[in-house]
């Protein structure tokens, strides 16, 4: 088990957002976490990455608890989060963004070369400021920056957000390739169909709790998934 979350509770102020979530990700898997807006997915990811202090529960990476450790130590557990909305260093160049991705990777030159290979698109824009890239390019760069650190576990928060359909496809293809390269992916998505298409397993979250989990292939047809997205009585509406 590469990532294990047990009974995690956290929130903002006195407001509890994540209410006792347990889940796990095994090495080599793509696991996706689905859920409607406000279900607490992003909060959960932020807690795992150490950006949000947790109230109780346990987070283990490679069986070692990382609770209480500051966010910048996560990379020493070979874990990397690509946050929602890309969060690039907008006033720095593409190359500098990649370089900083490998802040702790002494072999960063090679790693950056590998990223060029993966996203040939970026190579032509090394001197450009990251903030001036298009949405799709930014997502590529965000992924690339994370990969320079050579993580074994990659957390992705809504990588398809705000992307044109063509770009969404490219991003998901890329995630599939990552799996082939041995990177474990924990994917939070609202684009359920696309996510389930590439995932091995999936969890469905609603109002801070996991309400459903299982093999991705099973969940595609599970009416509960749609319910979580579209509210009760989806049937009358959509079919």
């Amino acid at each position: 088990m590469l990532l294990q979350v047990r009974n995690l509770r956290c929130g903002y102020g006195s407001l509890e957002i994540v209410k006792g979530v347990s889940l796990h990700v095994d090495a080599g898997e793509i696991v996706t976490l689905l859920g409607a807006n406000g279900a607490g997915k992003t909060s959960l990811l932020r807690a795992i990455a150490g950006l949000l202090p947790i109230w109780s529960g346990d987070i283990r990476v490679n069986l070692r608890s990382v609770v209480g450790e500051p966010p910048w130590t996560r990379i020493s557990h070979a874990m990397m989060l690509v946050p929602e909305g890309r969060q690039l260093f907008g006033d720095m160049t593409v190359w500098e963004n990649l370089l900083l991705g490998g802040y702790h990777n002494l072999d960063r030159k090679r790693a950056i070369e590998d990223v060029y290979e993966r996203f040939p698109h970026l190579k032509g824009r090394l001197r450009q400021l990251a903030g001036t890239l298009s949405g799709g390019e930014q997502q590529m760069l965000a992924l690339g920056r994370a990969l320079v650190a050579r993580p074994r576990l990659l957390l992705l928060d809504e990588p398809s957000l705000g992307l044109a359909p063509l770009m969404v496809r490219e991003v998901f293809n890329c995630i599939k390739r990552l799996k082939e390269d041995g990177v474990t992916v924990f994917l939070v998505e609202q684009n359920a169909v696309a996510a389930l298409e590439i995932a091995d397993r999936a969890y469905v979250m609603e109002t801070g709790e996991i309400i459903l989990e299982g093999e991705a292939a099973d969940l595609v047809t599970n009416p509960e998934v749609r319910r979580a997205y579209l509210g009760k009585g989806y049937k009358e509406i959509w079919e």
């Binding site: 102020g13 006195s14 407001l15 409607a36 807006n37 406000g38 279900a39 903030g131 001036t132 298009s134 949405g135 809504e158 957000l161 705000g162 044109a164 359909p165 063509l166 969404v168 496809r169 490219e170 998901f172 293809n173 609202q190 684009n191 359920a192 169909v193 696309a194 298409e197 590439i198 109002t207 801070g208 997205y229 579209l230 509210g231 009760k232 009585g233 989806y234 009358e236 509406i237 959509w238």
Partner: protein, 258 residues
């Protein structure tokens, strides 16, 4: 005549186009819902309507009067009130005080009158407290009036925010994802409450993800994707629109072929 009218509203943040020429109308007395995937520009649209941001291009009219460029409090005075996606209560104040802030527009007492507690101010204050209490009763939170707003559950916060927005006696109420984070029962209650509000003659414009709620109570639905209006019409018409289904549930075919 339309109560609210947006004409060709465009909004760019840096190089990013959040809204690209959106036009629509809201008729008096209807419940209109705006749906669309994350990042479609729904909240941006709300922020433009209530004056928090000024659109790059286009105008919004209330009763035919252009309101783009007005300050939020001026727009509020014209009868537009709103709730926020992330519930923006005043956490350091009590529930009652939160609703009382909603009554702000309908008070007259100025700084000096307040400081001196003039009789008119006291009468006004008493009336305001009564009205606020009534609003809280309406949303079923009267017994929490003296609790700190920071300590409520999400559902209760949404209700307080609703009561606060109603306190301004709006003609148009903007609701930003009122059901997000609510459980099924709470959502049911909400839908009843919203209908009641509509029946009182208040026009509702809401952004919502919960399709069942939307389909249930909306008179008209506007679908946004990438800042562009892709469909508009009554629920029955929208739900059968293939473009809407594709956008909302994901581009299945594309991924499969990719």
């Amino acid at each position: 005549m339309a109560l609210l009218e947006a004409a060709n509203v465009r909004q760019c943040f840096g190089g990013l186009v959040a809204l690209n020429g959106v036009s629509f109308q809201v008729s008096p007395g209807q419940i209109k819902a705006i749906i669309g995937p994350n990042g479609a520009g729904k909240t941006t649209l709300f922020n433009i309507i209530c004056g928090l941001i000024k659109p790059t291009d286009g105008v919004v009219r209330m009763d035919g009067k252009v309101i783009t460029g007005l300050k939020p409090f001026q727009i509020a005075a014209l009868g537009v009130s709103r709730t926020f996606q992330n519930v923006s209560l005043f956490p350091h104040m009590t529930v009652l005080e939160n609703v009382l802030v909603g009554r702000h527009l309908h008070g007259r007492a100025g700084l000096i009158g307040c400081a001196l507690r003039l009789p008119t101010q006291r009468r006004e204050e008493k009336a305001m407290v009564e009205q606020a209490t009534r609003l809280l009763e309406e949303v079923g939170l009267a017994e929490k009036a003296r609790h700190s707003a920071g300590g409520l559950s999400l559902g209760q916060r949404r209700l307080v925010e609703l009561a606060r927005a109603l306190g301004t006696e709006p003609r148009l109420l903007l609701l930003d994802e009122p059901a997000s984070g609510l459980n099924t029962k709470e959502t049911d209650d909400l839908s009843r409450t919203l209908r009641r509000i509509r029946d009182r003659g208040i026009t509702l414009l809401m952004v919502e993800h919960d399709m069942s709620l939307v389909m249930d109570i909306a008179d008209e639905i506007l679908v946004l994707d990438f800042g562009v209006k892709i469909a508009e019409g009554p629920p029955a018409q929208v739900r059968s629109d293939p473009k809407v289904i594709a956008v909302y549930l994901g581009e299945k075919e594309n991924v499969a072929t990719g």
